[in-house]
């Protein structure tokens, strides 16, 4: 539990699960949830590097805080897009949002 690679592997697994979720879900909200997982994986990485490698343990924490801020902004925008798309398509199924189909 006290080694860097443990945490990195946990984060990598979380990230891969997120990717899997993003690709596999058919609802937009599901995809958003998966993206949150990926962001969290990134946060874990930052905190781990901060804990084991960084010269100044404050910087990683600040980065993590900023990631949270970005995540909040991203969630707000994504949710509003989802709501708008739902009004338009009467669905949040990503496979129906194919207006750019070639």
């Amino acid at each position: 539990m006290n080694s860097l690679t443990t945490y990195l592997f946990i984060a990598a697994l979380l990230f891969s699960l997120g990717i899997f979720g993003v690709f596999q879900r058919r609802s937009l909200i599901g995809m958003l949830i998966a993206i949150e997982l990926m962001l969290n994986a990134a946060s874990i990485n930052f905190m781990a590097f901060n804990r084991f490698l960084a010269p100044d343990p404050i910087v990683g924490q600040i980065y993590t805080l900023f990631i949270m801020g970005i995540a909040a902004a991203e969630a707000a925008i994504a949710l509003s897009i989802i709501v708008a798309l739902f009004r338009r398509l009467r669905s949040i199924n990503i496979e129906r949002a194919q207006e750019l189909r070639g």
Binding site: A12, I33, N40, M47, F52, A72, A73, L79, I82
Partner: protein, 178 residues
């Protein structure tokens, strides 16, 4: 009491806690990803984020763990729930799952994991030569308002713009008859 204390070693307790947190994280992540009912997903996400908060405690920063709970669990998950509530009870009609797509997604996920794992195991991680041990929240706040104040302001601006944009986007759709 004494016997119990001696029975359960402190580091053993810590390891058990760590295992619990990891299990919590992955169980939450799996629930967040797999079930087709979206409410389950959200609950899974909450569990997973709580687990990550626990990991942050183990990484030495209870403050960030608290913030994680506050922002993610308290704000983001709740707003997702609100979004579900705003868009009719469509979550009840669960979309079907198509096996090829799931397989493909699993394949890509596996490739990415392999790549990450390879990079992690192959990189010789070197800690910095001199490392300070100042983890106090005071210093963190000090840094936020001195060295990183520009970033801090930028993040605030981004948040403001994001909120305005969210209002505009959803409001625009409301005015539009469809």
């Amino acid at each position: 009491m004494n016997s119990v204390q001696s029975l359960i070693q402190p580091h053993l307790l810590a390891q058990a806690g760590f295992a619990a947190v990891v299990v919590l994280t992955f169980a939450g992540a799996l629930i967040a990803v797999f079930p087709r009912n979206i409410l389950y997903n959200i609950l899974g996400l909450i569990v997973c984020l709580t687990g990550v908060a626990g990991l942050f405690v183990y990484l030495g920063s209870p403050f960030i763990a608290l913030m994680q709970l506050l922002i993610y669990v308290g704000a983001i998950c709740i707003s997702i729930i609100f979004a579900i509530m705003l868009s009719r009870p469509l979550h009840l009609s669960v979309p079907k799952r198509r096996l090829p797509k799931v397989g493909l997604a699993a394949g890509v996920g596996a490739v990415v994991f392999l790549m990450l794992a390879g990079i992690i195991s192959r990189t010789p991680w070197q800690p910095a030569v001199s490392r300070s041990s100042d983890w106090s929240v005071t210093t963190l706040g000090h840094y936020l308002l001195t060295r990183y104040d520009l970033v801090f302001e930028a993040i605030s601006l981004v948040l403001l713009v994001a909120i305005l944009g969210a209002i505009v986007i959803s409001g625009y759709a409301r005015r539009r008859p469809s």
